[in-house]
């Protein structure tokens, strides 16, 4: 049980952002676990009650690194009708969508079938979560769009789920997590990219997940902060794998979004890739272009947690190296490290860049008119 320590503040109206925005990382939650049951075959109800979820980490319930807040979420985001943060559409509308003038909100459900070892269960839960997103969220709120979640370790079943949802306007992307059994460029994941390209859906790669590998190349660290910071290193390696395996040669129309992993590291990673590629291209002859060119053409980045250097010039220079046309604003609602739309950009950004950053890049990428 969570105790409300302070009175919940009234939702404040937005101060800085008057124009419409896109929020490219919203986490919808289930009010109760059996909210999924109507979308799951009876067989799985009994299975879940008996065996629970067998995942690539040791804890039967909850994260191995305890979060800093219950559900890693804002303490003011509990819905008045009860349930965890992010589980009520009406409260999400009141707290996030209305005051911030969100014109497009992309749902990224995190507790799905991804990272489950039993692949049949993984596929069943993913399909159920996709149905649940339509039923509970997008069919009732046209500003919200869903992500197709897939059984990430079983490319064949994942591709089938993507094809099932292709053309459904409720969905605007396919969602993967950064940490899997293998680096994301490996061929076991290619059926996912093939189906996503075919369906014209970008693939979002959200930080987090469990694939059985320690979160550092030297084993498991001690603290939650190490896991939080470490997701950015996981994302860097996953992106390097995607580039070096030739995923973007094989799927030239594939677009990918790096979600909640930071973007400040992108220039350094691209420069490092280019530098070693200039010497080691013989090992990866399937690459026809410099690694940085694949990144520039195929990758978008959500902004939260916003890079926050002391000097705004450092931020602006970094964004120029990446491109103002590649950033997608996100709040990460209802998580604790939420970015407030009106405070995320320092002064000194042109109106055109602001418009691209807050809304237009996302509308263009996700095909929303």
């Amino acid at each position: 049980m969570n105790v409300q320590l302070r009175e919940r503040p009234q939702t404040a109206p937005s101060s800085g952002v008057k124009t419409a925005i896109a929020d490219c990382d919203i986490h919808p939650a289930r009010a109760t676990n059996d909210e999924l049951y109507p979308f799951l075959a009876k067989r799985w109800h009994a299975h879940l009650e008996t065996f629970g979820v067998h995942s690539y980490q040791g804890m039967m319930g909850g994260p191995p690194y305890p979060k800093a807040q219950p559900n890693a979420s804002r303490r003011d985001a509990y819905p008045p009708e009860g349930g965890p943060q992010g589980s009520s559409l009406s409260f999400m509308q009141k707290q996030l969508l209305d005051p911030n003038n969100v014109a497009l909100g992309v749902l990224n459900p995190l507790n799905t079938g991804q990272g489950i070892r039993n692949q049949d269960l993984a596929a069943a839960i993913c399909a159920a979560v996709n149905d649940w997103q339509i039923e509970k969220w997008t069919s009732k709120e046209p500003r919200l769009k869903a992500s197709v979640v897939v059984a990430n370790e079983d490319g064949v079943s994942a591709a089938a789920e993507i094809r099932k949802r292709a053309g459904d306007p409720n969905f605007v992307q396919v969602l993967l997590l950064s940490r899997n059994v293998e680096p994301l460029g490996q061929r076991r994941y290619w059926p996912i990219y093939e189906a996503a390209q075919e369906a014209g859906l970008p693939v979002g790669v959200h930080a987090f997940g469990f694939g059985g590998n320690p979160i550092t190349a030297s084993g498991w660290p001690s603290y939650y902060i190490e896991e939080m910071v470490g997701h950015s290193q996981c994302q860097q390696t996953a992106l390097a794998s995607l580039v070096l395996e030739g995923v973007f040669e094989r799927f030239p129309r594939l677009k990918m979004v790096m979600v909640e992993a930071g973007f400040g590291w992108a220039p350094s990673l691209a420069w490092r890739l280019d530098k070693v590629f200039s010497r080691l291209h013989a090992e990866v002859p399937h690459l026809k272009r410099k690694p940085s060119e694949y990144i520039r053409d195929h990758i978008w980045w959500t902004t939260q947690p916003m890079e926050d250097p002391e000097s705004r010039d450092h931020l602006f220079q970094t964004i120029e190296w990446i491109g103002w046309d590649k950033l997608l604003f996100a709040t990460d609602y209802p998580h604790w490290d939420y970015d407030e739309p009106s405070r995320v950009l320092p002064a000194g950004v042109s109106d055109a860049d602001k418009q691209a950053f807050y809304l237009d890049n996302a509308k263009k990428l996700y095909g929303i008119s």
Binding site: V181, P221, G264
Partner: protein, 360 residues
């Protein structure tokens, strides 16, 4: 190009062990017998395949044998060429991959004695790093204490990818010994391959392993800072070797942001991560992961917010640059002097001390 100045300290040279059998004279009868009767192979790490284009510059590759295995080549191609006053030898021989702590101890002992006799004894400009059997903390500390009597050993050497994150308290006796003896800990690119070489598993390619070194350095810095190593050992310096450094500013932005958010978890971290890096962490110059335009590079140095972090290195015989372009274009003469001379001397206190010419 920016020209090097004479009298610099090259902080990352890699003398190569020709073969495991080259260490036999430095082993006792038992280990000599083990190596020969079991038919042990040479300890070449996957991190640096001998013939890989990045394991040696083409013009530094000898007609025969491993790159970096002949002292005359190293003298001519690195020390003389760049007017180096001191060169720090960081042997990258795969002793960290060994699983038995006894075997690792025997091999490290032999490797350190080999370095003293075959390299340090032969050129007064050379200094050494103590390679430790990190498989056993007790044996690692004993090896540090044994070698440290020879003042030509100026550093302790570890790899960036090992069994556990380097901040873990398990390793602290090593740091206590290093701090007490005035030895920085050098953390070099490379893996023991006891864990997958990336935090998302095993990639397919050598190039992937190499790129992933930069991410491994980032996670190690998080660990060292979060665990409080420098709260306990404030005088300890750590040098990230062949790490790259252009990732540092955005890494620190993120670490700083989360430290502010969840510092209640590690309340002993009482200074901002950037301040800890400034006082305790240094980086070797090569590789410079940046485009060649001086403008971009100078912006990156501005993002670093300090001109004291970088220590000159050629990474000889690895390929990082061509010709004499060891320093990137467009650096000020003041920064060149700091990188080549002032910063290394401020880091390696033992460079000032007189050396006693006895092998350990």
């Amino acid at each position: 190009m920016t020209s090097p100045i004479a009298g610099g300290v090259d902080c990352d040279l890699h003398p190569a062990v020709p073969h495991l059998t080259s260490l036999l004279p430095y082993m006792n009868d038992y280990w000599r017998d083990q190596v020969t009767t079991r038919g042990m192979t040479d300890l070449i790490s996957q991190s640096y395949p001998t013939n890989s284009p990045i394991s040696s510059r083409p013009d530094w590759r000898p007609a025969q044998g491993k790159p970096g295995s002949a002292i005359a080549d190293l003298q001519r191609q690195a020390l003389d060429r760049f007017g180096t006053a001191y060169g720090i030898c960081n042997p990258l021989y795969g002793v960290q991959m060994v699983f038995s702590e006894d075997m690792a101890n025997a091999f490290c002992h032999a490797l350190n004695d080999w370095l003293a006799k075959e390299w340090l004894d032969k050129d007064d400009r050379l200094r050494g790093s103590i390679v430790i059997p990190v498989q056993s903390i007790e044996k690692a500390v004993a090896e540090i204490e044994r070698c440290a009597e020879d003042k030509r050993f100026v550093q302790v050497l570890m790899l960036v990818m090992g069994d556990m994150p380097l901040g873990k308290r398990h390793y602290w006796p090593i740091y206590a010994a290093a701090e007490r003896l005035g030895l920085p800990i050098g953390i070099h690119a490379g893996s023991a391959y006891h864990n997958p070489p990336s935090s998302v598993g095993w990639g397919s390619y050598h190039i992937e392993d190499y790129v992933a070194q930069a991410q491994a350095f980032q996670t190690q810095l998080t660990s060292l800072i979060a665990e409080g190593v420098f709260v306990r050992h404030p005088a300890l310096k750590m040098v990230m070797l062949e790490s790259g450094f252009t990732w540092l500013p955005p890494f620190l932005w993120r670490l700083h942001k989360f430290w502010r958010g969840v510092r209640m978890e590690t309340p002993w971290v009482d200074r901002a991560p950037l301040e800890i890096v400034r006082s305790n962490i240094r980086f070797s110059l090569q590789p410079v992961d940046a485009p060649p335009e001086p403008d971009t590079l100078n912006r990156l140095f501005d993002h670093m917010q300090s001109d004291e972090l970088i220590l000159f290195s050629t990474d000889y015989p690895h390929w990082q640059f061509d010709g004499d372009d060891v320093l990137p274009k467009g650096l000020s003469q003041d920064l060149v002097r700091k990188i080549m001379i002032d910063n290394p001397h401020a880091t390696y206190g033992r460079l000032k001390e007189p050396v006693k010419e006895t092998a350990p």
